[in-house]
Structures are given as C-alpha cells and as structure tokens.
C-alpha cells in the first residue's frame, strides 16, 4: 500500500485524486505554483508544497521541482492526473528512477501511444481498424503531405505526430488549404510538442467520437468499461460527454469494446487508458489514438459502471489484480458530463476573475467536481475548466431533464461561464434525438470573428 501520494496537478482532478487517496488511507501532498497559493487542492491536501512560479513549465511541468518535492516531503507515489506531465514518458521514467511509484502506465507505453503514427502502425498490424492516412513514421515536408492528401482524397485532417488536445490540428478541404494550413499546424506542433513531424488522416465529416475506457492490471488482464460519446466538441475540445453512446447497438458495443481491449493487450498496457475511435454513420469504426491517463470525462463511466476509476488507477499501480472480469461489468442507466468553463458563452473567450458566490446544484444523480469556492480567484494562467457537472439517471431522457434542472440551479457569480451554452444544447432537437456528429457545435459558433483570435486554451483530455 502506498503511504503518501504526491499529486502533480491542480484544479478538479487534484481534488478528485485527494478524495480517492483519503478513502484508501493514503496521505496526500499537493504541489502548487505561486498563482495557486489559495487554490482548493492546496487547502485540502494533508501537506502542500509551492514548487515554482505561475508559468506551467516552471511549476506543474517542472520535472526536477516535482521530484524534489516528492522526495523531500517523503512521498512514495506520484499521480499525474490529466494534462501537464500525465503523458510524458520521461516524467514516468524519472519517477521510477527516483524510487517513486508512478500512477499510470509504463513509460514505454506512454511514449508508444504518444507517437501517433507508430500507434497507428501497431494497431493496424493487430487488426484494429485505423483511418486511412499517412503510412510509416509521418511527414515533415509539405510535398509529402500533398502526396498523401492526393492518395487519400480531400478533405483531410492534418495532425501532429506528437499531438493531442487539438493543437497542431487542421482540416484541409482542398490542395490550396493544405498548402496554407500545413505550415500553420506544423508551427503549432513545434511550439507545443517540439516536433515537426505530422501525419494526415482522411477527414470524416459526419462521424461520432466514441471512446472506450480500458482498465488493465500489471498481470496482463484487461477489460473495458464501456464507451463515452464525446462528439459534442468545439474545435477538437470536448464539451459534453455521455455514456452510453445513444446510437450504439449492443452488438457494435461488443465489437468495438473487443477492439479496444485488443489495442491495450497487444502492447501489454497497464493502468487506466482510453481508446478513441471515430464511428461513421454506417457503423464502421476506426482507431484514432489511445490516451494513456485518466480522462477528464472519467466520471460518466464511473456513474454507469459504479467503478471508481481513480481508486482503480492507484490499485493497479500498486500491483493489485483486476477485481472484475469483463462479463461482471454491468451498465446501469445513462450519464452525461458538462464541462463548465470560465468563459464568455457568446464569444468563447476566457473569463477569469473572482467567484463571488458559488452554489453547486444537488439532488439524486447530480455530481459536481470542482475546485471553486466563494471568493476564489480563477487564475488566468491555466485551463479554464472550473467544474464538471455529472448527471446520472435511468434513461437518457431523464438525464437531460435532470441536467437542465441542475444547470439552472448552478450559481457561479463574478465570472462568466458556458452554462447558457449547455442549456441551449440541451434544448436542441437533434441533441435530444441523439443525432449528432463531431461538427454539431458549429451551429452554435458565434457569428462575429472575435473567437477566432483565440487559440484553444484548454488541454485535451
């Protein structure tokens, strides 16, 4: 059993991990930047350590500072959460080298899945269907991209080989767009991931984003915990996630679930992970990538399966065996998560500031994951995700009714949030019918060009 966990993160996920550790009897060390001195995770943890100035690269992504905090304050395990260092193979390896247990997969699995063209190759070989796209190790030159696009046919999606979170990602509808957007995407990739390597994928216009939650122990047992439909996204940033996917048949679920488990098994994956697929209208599905960490939207899976994924991630890291077999996984009702961002709902621009009054909703099947409190100042430096409202009920129709009631009850004064946008979506007839694809939110894009001036701020997860 771990004795002391250092949580290398902030915000809602840090709170979530502290709670799981408390239940398991593990004491907690929070780390924070000077901008987060008054953050809730700092107050909630048993101990807290300031590790650096506000810039993430100097604090939450500063590997030596985090390792020094862990060893100086006597932690024996490190939970990376999501974002920041969670998918950094070097960090996982450095933890192990310093005698710290990293709560997540092995460093080589993080690196393997982080190299998207390589992951595609391995999946293809294992018989997991992948989207038609660039072969080999990816492309760095425009003319290579042009050749690939010609072979695939437009539209194509330009992606960063080391990518994630919508960064370095562009849709090109024709050769002229490719010529214009490829260098842009590549520049973004260089800035964000320090890599010029890109790859192309055939762009499916009317596809759903359906991902499967994987749980695997260190003894080569792996199961899936069903799917999450994350098609409601804005510029590749998820906004609403739900389980089950409203259009998935039991047969297709079984087929996709098997493919997801195979994806994990073929590399000998351990801990929690998510295999992402695109699902075309015809019921054909394609592997896109695997996320080697806990996801922002893990809560909806917890609601429908009753499995505490954060506790499981810790148990798996301690070497415990899976307590569940695939046939023992039962799905109960439906669940949706609404990501609440500190942003102007009309113009989609961040709205940091002081939260003067915070009143979260309650009641049966209503769960709020947040690090907000009255008087808290939402800092400008980090992801604007401030709360997650997770709703659970017997049916999707009831979930929608419950979510509307909960969102109307939710009071966050002092800053602007995207709650009005969520309510609009919940009243949309197509959303209510469950008929949507990843381009759904374009209908709610602001008409004025302001929002286009802001690059996506939040992390992918």
């Amino acid at each position: 059993m771990f004795k002391k966990m250092l949580i290398a993160n902030r915000g809602t996920i840090a709170i979530r991990i502290i709670r799981a550790c408390r239940e398991l009897g593990i004491s907690t060390v929070a780390v924070y930047s000077t901008a987060d001195k008054n953050a809730l995770h700092v107050r909630m943890a048993d101990e807290s350590v300031c590790i650096g100035p506000p810039a993430a690269e100097d604090s939450y992504m500063n590997i030596p500072a985090i390792l020094s905090a862990a060893t100086t304050f006597g932690a024996d395990a490190v939970h990376p959460g999501y974002g920041f260092l969670s998918e950094n193979g070097d960090f996982a390896e450095a933890c192990q080298r310093s005698g710290l247990n990293f709560v997540g997969p092995r460093a080589r699995h993080i690196r393997l899945m982080g190299d998207k063209p390589r992951a595609r190759r391995i999946m293809k070989r294992a018989g997991v269907p992948v989207l038609p796209g660039s072969e080999g190790t990816g492309v760095t030159e425009l003319r290579e991209a042009q050749a690939d696009a010609k072979r695939l046919g437009y539209p194509v999606l330009i992606k960063a080989a080391a990518g994630g979170g919508g960064k370095g990602m562009r849709v090109a509808r024709d050769a002229a767009e490719l010529t214009r957007l490829f260098p842009q995407a590549q520049g973004e990739s260089e800035l964000s991931f320090n890599s010029r390597k890109m790859y192309l994928e055939k762009y499916l216009k009317h596809a759903r984003h359906v991902e499967f939650q994987i749980l695997a122990d260190l003894h080569r047992n792996a199961i899936h915990l069903g799917e999450r439909d994350c098609s409601i996204q804005r510029r590749h940033q998820k906004l609403i996630e739900e389980s089950p996917c409203p259009t998935l048949t039991a047969r297709l679920r079984e087929k996709m679930g098997k493919a997801a488990v195979r994806a994990a098994e073929v590399v000998g994956y351990s801990n929690v992970g998510t295999v992402e697929f695109l699902l075309a209208g015809s019921g054909v599905f394609y592997f896109i990538e695997m996320n080697t960490r806990i996801q922002v939207e893990h809560g909806v899976t917890e609601m429908v399966t009753g499995v505490d994924l954060v506790k499981e991630s810790i148990r798996m890291a301690m070497g415990e065996r899976l307590g569940l077999k695939q046939r023992q996984v039962k799905f109960d009702g439906a669940s949706m998560e609404f990501r609440i961002y500190a942003e102007d709902p009309e113009r989609h621009i961040p709205s940091p500031g002081v939260v003067t009054n915070h009143h979260p909703p309650g009641g049966l099947g209503v769960r709020v994951e947040t690090a907000l409190y009255d008087g808290y100042r939402v800092p400008v430096q980090y992801d604007p995700l401030i709360a997650k409202l997770i709703v659970h009920a017997e049916t999707r129709v009831e979930v929608i009714a419950r979510a509307k009631a909960a969102l109307r009850e939710y009071v966050i004064d002092g800053i602007k949030t995207n709650i009005p946008l969520h309510l609009k979506i919940l009243h949309d007839p197509d959303f209510n019918r469950g008929e949507f694809s990843t381009d759904f939110l374009t209908r709610y894009e602001p008409a004025q060009p302001d929002a286009a001036h802001h690059a996506p701020v939040s992390k992918a997860s």
Binding site: V42, P53, P54, T72
Partner: protein, 165 residues
Amino acid sequence: MEVRELKTLLVLMRDYGLVELEIEDKKGKVRLVRAGGRASVDATEAGSQAHLAVRAASPIKMAMRHVEATEEEGSKAAGRIELAPNQKLIESPMVGTFYRAGSPDAAPFVEEGSSVRKGQPLCIIEAMKMMNEIESPAAGRVIRIIAENGNPIEYGQPLMIIEVT
C-alpha cells in the same frame, strides 16, 4: 501605435491582472508596464505609420509576466516579513532541503551578523541529491537566518535577510 489601441491594451491588462505586456509584430514593438495604478509606456516602432493589428492570424509575440510576491502570489510562508529599504530577503529558488553548511561536519557558511561579499555562498538547497549553493545577491551583512537547518523548503520560502552595505 495609436492612443486608442494603447488604451484598449491597458484595459485588457487591468482586467486580466497583467503587470507587463510586450507585443511585437512586423511593424514594431510595444512594452507596457503597469505598477500600482501608474502606467508607463515605451515603444519602438519600425515606421511612423506603424500600427498594431490585434489578431491571432498575425505573428504577435506576447510576453506576459506577473509580479511576484504581491499579496495574491508568493508561497504561503512568504509575505509577512517587513523589510527596511536596505534589506534584501533571500528566498529559495527551488523546492528542496535547506542546509547551512556544505557537509554535516563543516562549519555553517554564514551566521547572523556575518559580513558577506556579493556572490558568496549563503546556504545550500538540496534538490534531487544535487547541492545547489545559494549566493548572496549583494555585499552586506546577514541580519537574520529564517530557515532551520535540515528542513524541507518550498519554492519562494524566505531563507535569510541581508542588509546591503
């Protein structure tokens, strides 16, 4: 750059709590510094008609820096130490363990009252088995040693006070 544009930037800086903002594009560079309600502007522009287009499509380099050690920021331990104008607070530049000497049986680098040269080692912060010497930023005298030998230290935690001579 036009006054109207500068005003817009200053309002944005105030709203986002920015203290310093530097924007550079093909046509020139402007640096705005806001301190305690005062604002100073220094700008170098490539051409007399230079103006700033605030849109993401153009390559604008933005440097944002926040003041350290205001009431909002700084580590929990900092903030309540009063300094005379000629005194300097030595804060830990990293998280680690504080040592007053180079090895367990060596004499401490400095004591309260010791005179120090600029660049003279004051103490060690051990981080990941690396011994990091913290040097005096100025010549003067150590008037207070705040941290305890062998204790864990956070980023920004006060270690000593130096009186500059």
